[in-house]
Amino acid sequence: MADTAITTEQLTKMYGRSRGLAGLDLDVRPGEVYGFLGPNGAGKSTTIRLLLDLIRPTSGRASVLGTDPRKGGAALRRRIGYLAGDFLVDGRQTGHELLTYLGNLRGGVPNGRIDALASRLDLDLSRRIKSLSKGNRQKVGVVQAFMHSPELLILDEPTSGLDPFLQQEFVAMVREAKAAGQTVFMSSHVMSEVQQTADRVGIIREGRLVTVEQVEELRERAVRHVEIHFESPVDVAEFAGLPGVSDLRVDGALLRCRLSGRADALIKAAAAHTVVSLLSEEPDLEELFFGFYLTEEVGHVAA
């Protein structure tokens, strides 16, 4: 096995004069689940299409499973499973037809593997793909990416369109892949999608890698919007200055604030009163990116 599953060095892709990717340095280790996070248009799909040799870099290098994607060709792609967020196929065929064909292109997949995955995802393979809902179509994509148990899974916004139950099933499949020693490279613009499975997260913004972090660290830094309804009005002073709390507003019995890092101090302060309800919104990824962006700017000024 290669030392790294995916490496890129100053990988750059220009589309005419507009930038797709501006010097990306990536390092994905074998056997890890790597979340590739960024807002829409940041260059996630461009990166993935470069790794699959669907497009060619303007400059820089990429290495996938120890091979240049351009030179690795078909032999390299045999070891990869790929799923795009908008899984597009000719809708006139049935799921079974398509998966048999794709399996044959891979030199066949183990007997019963396709049916087992389909029944696990509750997918009817006998129906024409155009008659399937967006979610069910995406399941066909999940099956084709996983069916040959590839060394490396490259998943581009994989759970778009899947309902919450299936997202959980998908998370389980990613964990099993990791347990089996497979490497997973997964892009997303939704934090929650990657934080359940990823070991590390790389954040990309405007074609550049902004930071790489352990998921745990990222979660501690993430900013949440918190809303607490108390039974009776509370005093602002009790909550002002708590660690991690900012933008604090108290309106009678309703408290609103932004919370970064651990929730402990806020919860303990709130526990002194009767809490009717507590709402903690998903960490906002855009804000997270903005946070990194600001940090960078400040850094430049300081230097």
Binding site: R49, A74, A75, R77, Y82, A84, D86, L88, T100, L105
Partner: protein
Amino acid sequence: MLLRNVFTKSLWDARRSLLGWTLAIVAVGAMYAAFWPSMQSPEMAKAMEAYPRGVLEALNYDDLTTAAGYLGGSVYGLLVPLLVAVFTIGAGTRAVAGDEEAGTLDLVLAHPVSRTQLALQRFAGLVVSVAAVALGLWLVMLALTGPVGFDGVTAGEFAAANLQLAAFGICFGALAFAVGAATGRKGLTLGLSAGIAVLAYLANGVIPMADGLEWTRSLSPFHWYLGGDPLSRGLDAGGTLLLLGVAAALVAIGTVVFERRDVAV
């Protein structure tokens, strides 16, 4: 099993359109061929004489007094080759550009298939499809030989004409395939290929009527296809090789460019 590889899958995907086109082309050919007995009546001969020579030539009706001349003009000269060209230009466009614009090419190319393999196997599917159409037309012409009577056009001469028809179709299929593989743009591919087909048609029958433009005929695939008069003189090896040679060159260029360029999203 037709889901085995890119080649067989392309035939499987084209099964309905192939059946439709074969039936349509064979039906048109059979209909025109069935008119042959009535073309021999004195009234009809007189009616045709009334047409200016140039109009008849433009329509490939050079000689209406023999079965070979009539069939060469009506069946093999106009509607059938135009239908075959439309069919193969459509198929050639779908092979790469259509798939690419639909966004469905990425998935197959993410599999262990090289772009060259994909392109060549799909083109092979096109060749087999055209061959099926030509074979169908040949069989129907043979079947009509008994009841209609094409005085003296042999099975071998019909075979030559249909073989050259297939080569003609492959040539235009290769053109659309090459433009599509090189650019990935469906509209451009269809437009350019159809434009060239129309020019080629005009260069064979209409443009050469102008003084000093006789030479344009030798550049037209329509001329390479029918200029050697296969229905009365048998296989025209030169014309057929020219059609297939141009097709091979186009396929090679298209595939090489496709191998090197970015695949569009």
